[in-house]
């Protein structure tokens, strides 16, 4: 039997001699730093979730009906009548939320250890593009069940483009293909969600990995192993602190996969709606164009950005400022490699100012999330008494946090461009060698 496989392998190799070198370059001879820690699980987990979304998504389309008249019922049909349909749908919906969990953590890792810095700017930019496409993908998928939250979510998000002066009104009609979210809107979102955006997403993921493997992985010490001493067990020309991605990190990542699947399975089987955070209760009501749900808010992963829209008031007769603020909050992340000019990558050897700023930034992001989730509207009266003016307090709190979010980037620019940062010496090699 082994002989048969060997001869098949030889047969293929003779006709496509370029395949094995590609495999070796990206797997067995891709030398990743040996000091990866817990934070390095989330990239491979994102890939796992992507595969899950594609597989479960394909099976959902087999029973889903992309029309305003049939969409809602077909989702209920999947949940009740299709054998195991509930599992496939819950895997898809839970996967969507967990996608953002791992991507947020993956991005935070990149910021914390300076993985976006030279020479990995392209890796970061491609990753940010993935994040952007992922947000569009998630939004359009959210619209497909055509519940009342789907409808009003579509209305509000598409209306964001309506705040653009002059062309806004027409642009909204163009995106919706009608004067409000309708059959045409649902159909095109379906096409984009299941065909166009996944293709773009896959292409970007391939480019993201290709760009990464070109420059090599960063690590918690922010030391460039590629430019350090050479010679390890496998090759005299490979980095001394690098180990082959396969089998070392594939096996390590499998442990992460196990833990992740355990968490995911728990959610899928015991708390698929996650208390209304992953699947909103108001979306169990069919779309109604005359009734906005009493409490409308996006799914948790958009809440921080949504809070920024809410906190910026209109001025000069246009509401475009809030929308600019929201897009700006993402655009600044794109520009991070040029905003942060600090020569030291890892937080381990960076100045105290950076550590404090990053902590404050994370707190601001989480606080904006609580506002977007309407948790502040719920808990402020409980904490400060029922008589308070919620709108006022929410605005004060939210605007302060919005300023803090943007202030992080301003501070980081000043801190690194004006040489205020006092860094610690970076070691020659990763700290946990031999």
């Amino acid at each position: 039997m082994a002989k048969v496989f060997a001869s098949i392998g030889e047969w293929v190799n003779e006709r496509a001699p370029g395949l094995m070198p590609v495999y070796r370059k990206h797997m067995t001879e891709y030398y990743a730093p040996k000091n990866f820690n817990l934070w390095y699980y989330f990239g491979s987990l994102a890939l796992l979730v992507l595969v899950n979304q594609i597989v479960t998504g394909i099976f959902l389309t087999m029973n889903y009906n992309p029309s305003a008249a049939g969409a809602f019922d077909s989702v209920q049909y999947i949940m009740r009548d299709v054998e195991w349909g509930w599992l496939i749908r819950y895997m898809h919906t839970t996967g969507a939320s967990l996608f953002f969990v791992v991507v947020f953590l993956h991005m935070f890792r990149g910021i914390m250890y300076g993985s976006f810095k030279k020479p990995r700017e392209l890796v970061w930019l491609l990753g940010m593009l993935i994040f952007l496409v992922l947000m569009a993908e998630a939004f359009m998928g959210y619209v497909l069940p055509w519940g009342n939250m789907s409808f009003w979510g579509a209305k509000v998000i598409v209306s964001l483009f309506g705040t653009i002066p002059v062309i806004g009104g027409h642009l909204v009609e163009w995106i919706m293909g009608d004067f409000l979210p309708a059959d045409a809107t649902l159909n095109r979102f379906f096409a984009l969600h299941v065909i166009a955006l996944p293709i773009v997403l896959l292409l970007l993921v391939v480019l993201h990995l290709a760009a990464l493997h070109e420059v090599g992985s960063n690590n918690p010490d922010g030391v460039d192993v590629k430019h350090g001493p050479k010679g390890n067990r496998w090759s005299p020309s490979a980095p001394v602190d690098g180990i082959p991605f396969h089998p070392y990190y594939t096996v390590k990542d499998l442990v992460g996969v196990g833990v992740f699947l355990l968490v995911a399975a728990f959610i899928i089987f015991f708390a698929p709606t996650f208390g209304g955070w992953f699947l909103e209760h108001d979306n169990s009501i069919p779309a109604n164009n005359l009734l906005t749900p009493a409490q409308i808010k996006p799914v948790w992963y958009f809440t921080a950005f949504y809070a920024i829209v809410r906190m910026i008031p209109s001025a000069f007769g246009t509401a475009v400022w809030g929308v600019l603020g929201m897009f700006g909050s993402i655009a600044l992340l794109f520009a991070l490699p040029w905003i942060d000019a600090g020569p030291v990558k890892s937080i381990r050897y960076r100045g105290t100012g950076y550590k404090v700023a990053l902590t404050v930034f994370v707190i601001a992001f989480l606080c904006l999330m609580t506002i977007g989730m309407d948790l502040t509207a719920e808990y402020f009266p409980k904490i400060f008494g029922a008589g308070i003016d919620i709108t006022l307090w929410e605005n004060v709190f939210g605007r302060f946090m919005t300023l803090t979010y943007f202030g992080f980037f301003v501070f980081l620019w000043l801190y690194t461009h004006l040489g205020w940062e006092k860094t610690k010496p970076v070691p020659e090699r990763v700290t946990m060698h031999d």
Binding site: V156, D178, F179, T292, A294, G317, G387, T391
Partner: protein, 201 residues
């Protein structure tokens, strides 16, 4: 293959000309695809006027009717509610609807009550921020979102507030007063939405 001299100028011209013609072709080919996203003829056709009887709308009540699939609020405002309107002016963005909101109503409804008849408010119930339907909160009493509430509309999406004439308050995300559609009274108890009064622009 005897020609050893390469005419670079000619080659550059041909490359540029081919690229330009190809580019124009791609742009032209993209037009039908982009235009296919416009509202279809069927979507545009579904916009006939709506006629509504006012007989059963008691003072203080609101009725929502659909016109072009948009919610239209018809409110029978009480004298108390009408009396609150002038008092709101200092707190509003555009109390006279002649600034940023000048285009938000037909000329015949550009007045203090934003209506043809003072008591009857006929308004497209779409928040001018991002298109939600604001809640009707008519009672004049302190609300969690405004201790000095004088009745009006509160948007659940981004917490914009409007008074009983759909005029937007200051300091909220919505930039303009809510839109008044063209409408007219067929008789004392019937309104038609989608068509203005005869002779009005």
């Amino acid at each position: 293959m005897a020609n050893e001299v390469v005419d670079h100028g000619r080659r550059r011209f041909l490359t540029a000309a081919t690229s330009v013609v190809g580019g124009v072709g791609i742009v032209a080919a993209a037009v039908p695809f982009i235009k296919s996203w416009e509202p279809s003829a069927r979507a545009k056709a579904a916009g006939a006027p709506v006629t509504q009887s006012l007989k059963k709308i008691e003072p203080g009540q609101q009725l929502i009717v659909a016109w072009r699939s948009l919610p239209v609020f018809i409110v029978n405002r009480t004298p108390e509610q009408l009396a609150t309107l002038p008092k709101q002016d200092p707190r509003l963005v555009d109390p006279k609807s002649d600034g940023t909101s000048a285009e938000q109503q037909p000329k015949y409804a550009q007045n203090e009550t934003r209506s043809i008849k003072p008591e009857w408010l006929v308004m497209i119930g779409i928040c001018t921020h991002l298109g939600c339907v604001p809640d009707f909160v008519p009672a004049i009493k302190p609300e969690p979102f405004d201790p000095n509430w004088q009745g009006g509309y509160y948007c659940p999406c981004h917490h914009s507030r409007y008074d009983m004439a759909g005029r937007v308050y200051q300091g909220v995300p919505a930039p303009k007063n809510m839109e008044i559609p063209p409408y007219h009274f067929i008789d004392d108890t019937t309104v038609q939405i989608g068509v203005g009064p005869e002779g009005a622009a």
